[in-house]
C-alpha cells in the first residue's frame, strides 16, 4: 500500500468526481439562472444597449389668414444629429465635422451640452442644412461615426418680415422653459413657438413627436435604421385660421418699407367686432432667421436699440402718451356725466393759453381758437377747451372713468407679452409718487389733453375707438375684445353713452378729417372719422398718432397708427387713410393717386414752466 496504490487512487477519484460535479453544477446553475430564468431582463438590456430612440418631429400646424392664405407653413429640411457614447467622442466627431461645414467652437459646446442633457438620444447639430452641405457630410460618413441625417419638417414663413410680429417665430425650447414646464410635453430639442401666435397657440400647433429606433454599436455609431412603427408616427399639429387679412397686411408692409422706411412705429387694423385685420410693427424682422437657431450676431442686431429693436412689437408692447386721441375719452366722460352737450362752450374762449394758478398752459395754436363748442373743440383739438373740461370733470371723475374705460388694463389680445397700459387708479397714486403735498391740480390739465401720467399701448387705444365706432354703447360691451384667432374675453368697453352721444362724437371726428377726406377719396364715397394726436417725447421729436374708422356712419374698419418721431399726427393720417381705402375700395382704384389731406397741426403744448412742480411726461 503506497500513496498511489490503485485502491487509494480510486477512492480519491470518487471524491474528486463529486467535487467536479459540484463545480460544473455551480456553473450550469449560474447559466440557467442567467439564460433561462432572467433572460427577459437581459434581452431588454441588450435591446436598450443597441437601440436608440430618435424623436421624429411632428409637422407644425399651418397658420392661415382669414381667407385661408398661408402665413406659416412647413417645408422639408435636413437635420443633422450625432449619436455618441461619451462627451469626448462627440467632441472629436464635431471637430472633424467642422472641416466640412461651418461649426465654431461655441456651437460645438452647445451640441455637447445637448448631448449631456440626453446622452441616449442623438444630439442635434444642425436643424437645417443646405443640400450641398449634407452631400459633403454624407461623403465623409465613414469618418463621422454616429452621424444621423433626417429630413424634418422645417418652419417657413412665406411672407417673412410682413407678418413677423403677428405670427412670431419658433425655436428650440430653452432649458429655463423646460424647468418651468412652460411647454407641456416638450423635451430637450423640441421646437416650440417662441413668440407671437406660434407661442400663443403652441399647444395646438405643435402636435406630438413620433419615435423611430436605430441600431448602434458600442461606440454609438449607427449600424442600421428600423422603420418607424405606425403607432409611433408623429401626430401633426392643428392649423389655425386667423382674422388677418393677408393682402392688407402685405400692403401695410410695403407702405412701411417703401415709403416710411425711416420711421419706427406700429399700425393696427381691425373690424369693429374686434377681429384684427392687420398688425404691423416697424422695423420688422424675418422670422425665418430663427428657424433652426439664429446666429448670435444676427440676434444682437435684432435686439439692438440702434437698429430700432426689430423684435419689439410696438403695437402691443410700446406704450406712448395717448395725446389728442385721448380727448375723445375725456369728451365721453363729460358727456356720460351730463356735464356738457355738443353745443356747450367753456367759460374762457381760447386765446392761445390757459392761466391756471401761477402758470400758463398753452394751446397748440398760439393764435387761439376763440370760443368753441364741443364739436369744434374736438375738430380743432383745442387744448384750452379741454383744460377747462378736465377741471369741470375733476380729477376723481377722470380717474374713475379711466378705470371704466380699461385704461390701466391689457386688452387680453391672444398674442403674448402685451404691455399693460398705465393710467393712475386713484389720487393715491400721486400721493405716493410725489408726496401728499407734492402735486397740484395741474395733473388734471395734463390728463385732459392725453399727456401726463398716462401711457397707452396702441392696441388699448384701439379698443377705446372700437367702442367709439359702435352706434350703441351697450353693443360694444357685448362685442368680443380684440383678437387674432379667438377672443379670450367677451366684451369691449361700455362707454356708457347713448346713441345720440356716440353719433355726435363721430360727427366731431368726421369734422376732423372732412376737408382731407374729400380730397383723398376722390370719386369714392369714403367718410373717414378719426383723430390725430401728437405725443410728447422727452427723448426727441414728438410721436404722431392717428386713429380713424370708416365708413363713419357704419364703420367696417378701424385703423390706428403710432409713428415715433413723426412730429405730427397729421403726417401719420394719410397712411392710415390709404390703408382704410385699400381695405374698403380694394386694390382696383388708383391707390397711388396723391392724397392731399389737411389736418390741424396740433403739436402738444408744453406748459410754460413758471414753477418747478411741473410733472414730466411719463411717470
Amino acid at each position: 500500500m503506497t500513496a498511489f496504490s490503485s485502491h487509494r487512487l480510486r477512492e480519491r477519484a470518487r471524491g474528486f468526481r463529486v467535487v467536479l460535479l459540484l463545480a460544473f453544477l455551480v456553473l450550469v446553475g449560474a447559466f440557467f439562472n442567467t439564460q433561462v430564468l432572467n433572460t427577459e431582463r437581459f434581452r431588454l438590456r441588450s435591446e436598450s444597449n443597441r437601440l436608440r430612440s430618435v424623436p421624429l418631429a411632428a409637422p407644425r400646424g399651418a397658420v392661415l389668414d382669414r381667407n385661408g392664405l398661408v402665413i406659416a407653413d412647413n417645408v422639408p429640411g435636413y437635420a443633422v444629429k450625432l449619436l455618441a457614447s461619451n462627451p469626448d467622442s462627440i467632441r472629436v466627431v464635431l471637430k472633424r465635422m467642422a472641416a466640412f461645414v461651418e461649426l465654431d467652437s461655441a456651437a460645438i459646446e452647445q451640441v455637447v451640452r445637448r448631448y449631456r442633457a440626453a446622452p441616449y438620444q442623438p444630439a442635434a447639430v444642425f436643424t437645417n442644412l443646405p443640400f450641398e452641405a449634407i452631400a459633403r457630410l454624407e461623403e465623409h460618413r465613414v469618418s463621422l461615426p454616429g452621424l444621423v441625417i433626417q429630413t424634418e419638417p422645417r418652419r417657413f414663413y412665406p411672407n417673412g418680415r410682413a407678418t413677423a410680429h403677428v405670427v412670431g417665430y419658433v425655436g428650440e425650447v430653452s432649458e429655463a422653459d423646460l424647468e418651468q414646464d412652460r411647454y407641456p410635453g416638450a423635451r430637450m430639442g423640441t421646437v416650440v413657438g417662441q413668440d407671437g401666435l406660434e407661442a400663443e397657440y403652441d399647444s395646438l400647433l405643435r402636435g406630438s413627436e413620433g419615435v423611430r429606433y436605430i441600431e448602434v454599436n458600442a461606440r454609438g455609431a449607427m449600424v442600421r435604421e428600423q422603420p418607424p412603427s405606425p403607432s409611433m408616427l408623429p401626430v401633426p399639429g392643428l392649423p389655425i385660421r386667423t382674422t388677418i387679412d393677408l393682402p392688407l397686411q402685405l400692403y401695410i408692409d410695403s407702405l412701411f418699407v417703401d415709403s416710411l422706411s425711416e420711421y419706427r412705429g406700429a399700425l393696427i387694423a381691425m373690424t369693429p367686432a374686434g377681429e384684427i385685420l392687420a398688425m404691423y410693427s416697424a422695423p420688422s424682422f424675418d422670422p425665418n432667421d430663427f428657424v433652426g437657431g439664429i446666429s448670435s450676431a444676427k440676434y444682437r442686431v435684432l435686439t439692438s436699440p440702434d437698429a430700432g429693436l426689430p423684435l419689439f412689437n410696438r403695437a402691443i408692447k410700446g406704450t406712448y402718451a395717448p395725446a389728442s386721441p385721448f380727448k375723445l375719452a375725456i369728451a365721453a366722460m363729460a358727456l356720460r356725466r351730463g356735464l356738457v352737450s355738443f353745443s356747450s362752450h367753456m367759460e374762457q374762449p381760447c386765446r392761445g393759453g390757459f392761466r391756471f394758478g401761477n402758470r400758463v398752459f398753452r394751446c397748440w395754436a398760439p393764435e387761439g381758437h376763440g370760443s368753441l363748442d364741443l364739436i369744434g373743440a374736438i375738430a380743432k383739438s383745442c387744448d384750452v377747451y379741454f383744460y377747462q373740461l378736465g377741471l369741470r370733470l375733476g380729477l376723481n371723475a377722470i380717474l374713475e372713468d379711466g378705470s371704466r374705460f380699461g385704461l390701466s388694463e391689457v386688452t387680453s389680445l391672444d398674442l403674448g407679452h402685451e404691455a399693460k397700459s398705465f393710467f393712475p387708479p386713484s389720487t393715491g397714486y400721486y400721493d405716493r409718487t410725489y408726496g401728499p403735498r407734492g402735486w397740484t391740480n395741474a395733473v388734471t390739465l395734463n390728463l385732459a389733453i392725453g399727456q401726463g401720467e398716462n401711457s397707452q399701448t396702441l392696441i388699448n387705444v384701439m379698443r377705446l375707438y372700437q367702442a367709439l365706432s359702435q352706434s350703441e354703447s351697450g353693443l360694444a360691451a357685448a362685442l368680443p375684445a380684440p383678437h387674432l384667432v379667438a377672443p379670450r374675453a367677451r366684451g369691449g368697453i361700455d362707454l356708457g353713452l347713448n346713441e345720440r352721444q356716440l353719433a355726435g362724437l363721430r360727427e366731431a371726428m368726421i369734422a376732423v378729417v372732412s376737408r382731407g377726406t374729400a380730397a383723398a377719396s376722390a370719386g369714392a364715397d369714403l367718410d373717414v372719422a378719426g383723430k390725430t394726436g401728437t405725443a410728447q417725447n422727452p427723448h426727441g421729436p414728438d410721436h404722431g398718432w392717428f386713429i380713424g374708422f370708416a365708413p363713419s356712419d357704419n364703420p367696417r374698419i378701424i385703423v390706428g397708427a403710432i409713428m415715433e418721431r413723426a412730429l405730427h399726427g397729421s403726417s401719420v393720417a394719410p397712411w392710415v387713410v390709404r390703408v382704410i381705402r385699400r381695405y374698403l375700395v380694394g386694390s382696383g382704384t388708383n391707390l397711388d393717386a396723391p392724397i392731399v389731406l389737411e389736418f390741424p397741426a396740433d403739436s402738444a403744448p408744453t406748459p410754460e414752466e413758471l414753477v418747478t412742480d411741473t410733472i414730466p411726461g411719463r411717470p
Binding site: F4, S6, R10, Q35, N49
Partner: protein
Amino acid sequence: MSRRGLDRGLIVCVLALAVYGLAILYSAGQTDAPTDAYGAWKRQLIWLGLGSLVAAVVFRVSFRLLEWVAPGVYVFAILLLLLTLVIGTGAGTASSTKSWLAVGGIRLGQPAELAKLATILMMARYLSAFKEPPDSLRALIVPSCIAGLPAVLVLAQPDLGSAIVFAGILFLMLFWAGVRPFLLLLLASPVVSLLLAGNTQLWGAWMVALFVALLVGRAFLSEAITVYLVNSAMGVFALTLWNRLQPHQRLRLSTFLNPELDPSASGYQAIQSKVAVGSGGWFGNGLTQGPQKRLAFLPEQHTDFIFSVVGEELGFIGVLVALSLFFCLMLVLLRIARRASDAFASLVVFGMLSLILTHVFENVGMTVNVTPITGIPLPFFSYGGSFLLACSLAVGVSLRAAWDARQAGYADA
C-alpha cells in the same frame, strides 16, 4: 481498446472541443465593424496544427525523461518569469501588464504558460517520491513553495488569473497525492481569512470556526498555533494588502461583488458579458448573429470573453454542450490519472487536469459573474498561441500516460 493504443475518449473529447472552439472563434470575428478578432480563426487553425505536432512529439517522450528534465524546466521557467518582470511587454488582452516576452519586437509568448507546465512537472516529481501521503503542514511547505514562487512572480506582472491557476494546481495535486482535506483547509485558511477580513462579523465567525476545527482535527500544537497566528495576521494586514493592490485589481474585486458600482468602466465587462449570455435564452441568437458581439458591446469576444459568445449565440443548450464536453474531458483525464502506470505519470496527468479545470471554471464562471474577472483563456476556445500549445502538451502527455498504462496491462484494471 484502441487499435494503436491511443485513448479514443480523450481524442474525441479534444477534437470535439477544438472544432466547437474554432466555430465560436470564427463567429467572434463576425462583427459589424471589423475588429482584431476578424480572421483570428485562421491563425488559430495554424496554432492547432502546431499544437497537434507538439502533442505528437510529447507523446513520444517517456515520463522518465520528463521526470529527469523537470527541475531544469522549472528553473528555466522561473528565470523566464524573472526576465519577463524586467523586460516584459504588455500585449493583447493583457496590455497593461508585463506578461509577454518579446525579442526584437517579436512576441515569443507568455512565460506564465510554460511556468504552469513546469510547476506541474516539478510538483509531480516531488510528490511522487512520498511513500505515504504527507500528513503535516510542515511537509506541505516545499510543494507550497514550488507553486508559490511562480505564483508570486506572475502576481507581480500583475496577473491575478494565472496566480489563481497556480493555487488551483497546488491544491488539486496535493489532494491527488493523498493529503487530507483537513490539511488543505488549514493551508487555505489564511486566504479565506484575508477574503473575509472585509467584514468583521464574518471574520470573527471564521476565526471561531477555525479554532474549533483545529481542536477537533487534532492538529499538531505547533502547527495549530502557527495557522491561527497566520490567520489573525491576515485579518490584521488585510487592509494594508488591499491598499497595496493595483487599482485595476481592486476595482475588479469590488466590481465582482457588485458590477453596477461602475457600469461604464470596470463593471462594464462583467455587465456586458452577462447581458450577452442572458439575452441568449434557451437557444441563442444563432451562430454569428449575437447583437452584443456584433455591435462590439461584448469586450474581448475572441479571447477572455469567448464563452459569452457561446451563451449569446447558442443559448443555454450550447452552454450545456460545451460544459458537458469539458466535463467528459475531465472524467477521461481523471481515468487516465487513476490508471497511470506510476505515481509521477498519474500526478502529471492530474496536474494537467487541474490546469484545465481551473482555467475552465475561472473563465466560464466570470462570464456569469460567478468568479472575478481575470484575463485567463478558455482551453480550446480562446484565441492565443502560448496557451493552446500548453494545452496540446497536456493532451500529448496524457495520451502517453494512457498508452503506458495499457502497455503495462493496467488498461482493464
